[in-house]
């Protein structure tokens, strides 16, 4: 199985009050539970990233709930208003409870 790897893009610096765009992507096949293994003909059980949480300095700012209709390697972009320097933490939750995290710092001048 391909390695599950998160990737995030956060501007290193931002001006106070500026609205920045945060982009996050995780490599994940997002098995819908409807696909079949082409070789064996067996159904591939559902396994998706069902939740994405972005927090800044420990406070949740944005949450996304994914359904099987979200494409493989789920990508998400969202805005954030820079007010102070701090660190983002990003968390992806897979079906079954496995978690993947990433974090990025942002300096506000």
């Amino acid at each position: 199985m391909a390695k599950i790897k998160p990737r995030v893009k956060v501007p290193k610096k931002a001006a106070a009050g500026e609205i920045v765009e945060i982009k996050a992507l995780i490599s994940h096949p997002m098995h819908t539970g409807r696909g079949k293994n082409k070789k064996t003909g067996k159904k591939i059980p559902r396994k998706i990233i069902n939740k994405f949480v972005a927090s800044f300095d420990g406070q949740d700012v944005f949450t996304a709930n994914f359904e099987p209709a979200v494409s493989a390697n789920p990508y998400i972009a969202f805005p954030f208003k820079a007010s102070k320097s701090g660190a983002f933490t990003f968390k992806w939750v897979e079906d079954g409870g496995a978690e993947f995290t990433a974090s990025k710092k942002m300096t506000v001048a």
């Binding site: 609205i19 819908t32 409807r34 696909g35 079949k36 800044f56 406070q59 949740d60 700012v61 944005f62 949450t63 996304a64 709930n65 994914f66 359904e67 099987p68 209709a69 979200v70 494409s71 493989a72 789920p74 990508y75 998400i76 972009a77 969202f78 805005p79 954030f80 208003k81 007010s83």
Partner: protein, 155 residues
Amino acid sequence: MKQTTQFSSISRRHALAMLSAAGAVVLAGVPAYADGAAVAAKIKGLTGGRSVGEGDIELDLPEIAENGNAVKVAFSINSPMTVDNYVKAVHVMADGNPTPDVASFNFTPAMGACSASTRMRLAKTQNIIVLAEMNDGSFKQAQATVKVTIGGCGG
């Protein structure tokens, strides 16, 4: 005139039997896809039957998607995003996929603006419905059709 005579030759009992047979065929023949009714039911469940307004939601969807496996879906909602007035949640639904849900997003005033972008799978040409819930409990929705040339489910 000919039609009338044909109709009258079918007895009422006969007609009823035919109707129920047709009903059974319709029930059995429903494909395993969500439809407008499933989306409407979903919206009703989310809003609790409250009326849904329109406007302020800008959708960014392709008119034609060549590959249904990854269709960009983005929206932005005109909102001041202050503690007193912000968009709480946004639900993205599709009426032609096996299930109506695509994704839902929870927003907070810390974001300063309300928008999001992701990619979704579409099984066929269908309508995308975006339902936004404001912090005061009111709802807004927007809808657009995406034509899909190659579906993106299963395989």
